[in-house]
């Protein structure tokens, strides 16, 4: 299982250990943190939900594609679901490889694809009490523009 969901804090130390191998000289990781603003609005907290049965399948396909495209050793992605506070880690990607260039490329490929393809939704709660499903509320009003910031 190279793509997983978790309802609790992501254990990056344990995840990183799964990527260790004596033949790897480079390790790149990405963490997505809950930030206090998005598109001009002050964010106070987030909720993530996923269609998990398809999500893990699509996530595994992305990791498999990364391992085929880039000569890396190991790759792993963990996405958190549920209610998250500011600074909480929403997603983690780690890649180990013999050389660093491929590790950067594969890590970036994985997070880009995960954000575009895995059925995960994010509801932002804003200062003042409003909330909204990212990429859904505005695209409902203006569908042709919406996919640009998906």
């Amino acid at each position: 299982m190279h793509f997983r969901f978790t309802q609790s804090a992501i254990d990056t130390d344990s995840a990183r250990r799964e990527l260790l191998t004596l033949s790897a000289g480079g390790y790149v990781s990405f963490e997505g943190w809950v930030r206090d603003h998005n598109e001009g609005l002050e964010v106070t907290r987030l909720e993530y939900e996923s269609f998990q049965e398809l999500g893990v399948k699509e996530g595994e396909r992305i990791i498999d594609e990364a391992l085929r495209r880039f000569p890396v050793k190991h790759a792993l992605c963990i996405h958190r679901l549920g209610s998250l506070a500011l600074s909480d880690m929403a997603v983690w990607v780690g890649v180990s490889s013999a050389h660093r260039g491929e590790a950067f490329d594969a890590c970036r490929f994985i997070i880009d694809e995960v954000k575009h393809r895995v059925p995960i939704w994010k509801k932002e709660h804003y200062r003042g009490g409003d909330s909204g499903w990212v990429n859904c509320e505005r695209c409902a009003a203006a569908p042709t523009y919406a996919h640009q910031h998906a």
């Binding site: 996923s50 269609f51 399948k57 997603v91 499903w133």
Partner: protein, 79 residues
């Protein structure tokens, strides 16, 4: 025939439920979405969605069979 529909995120909120068993004559996911759009007033148009049947992405024109599980997938926002 009976289909199982699961709703997520904005569509879950607009449908007021996360799943239901539906008696329908919809032949395809496209037909089914038209039926549900009329019932629940979803704000997302079909061109903004993807659809999954039995936990795998599907064409909108795939013939549906009794017992199929259908999920409409709003624009995603992981990470």
């Amino acid at each position: 025939m009976q289909l199982k529909i699961q709703y997520y995120a904005l569509m879950r909120e607009q449908a007021g439920r996360s799943e239901e068993i539906l008696d329908t004559s919809a032949a395809t996911p496209a037909d089914l979405y038209g039926e549900l759009l009329a019932r629940y007033g979803f704000t997302l148009g079909r061109e903004q969605l993807k659809v999954a049947v039995n936990n795998e992405f599907s064409d909108w024109s795939r013939p549906l069979a009794a017992g199929d599980a259908v999920v409409f997938i709003p624009p995603v926002a992981g990470g």
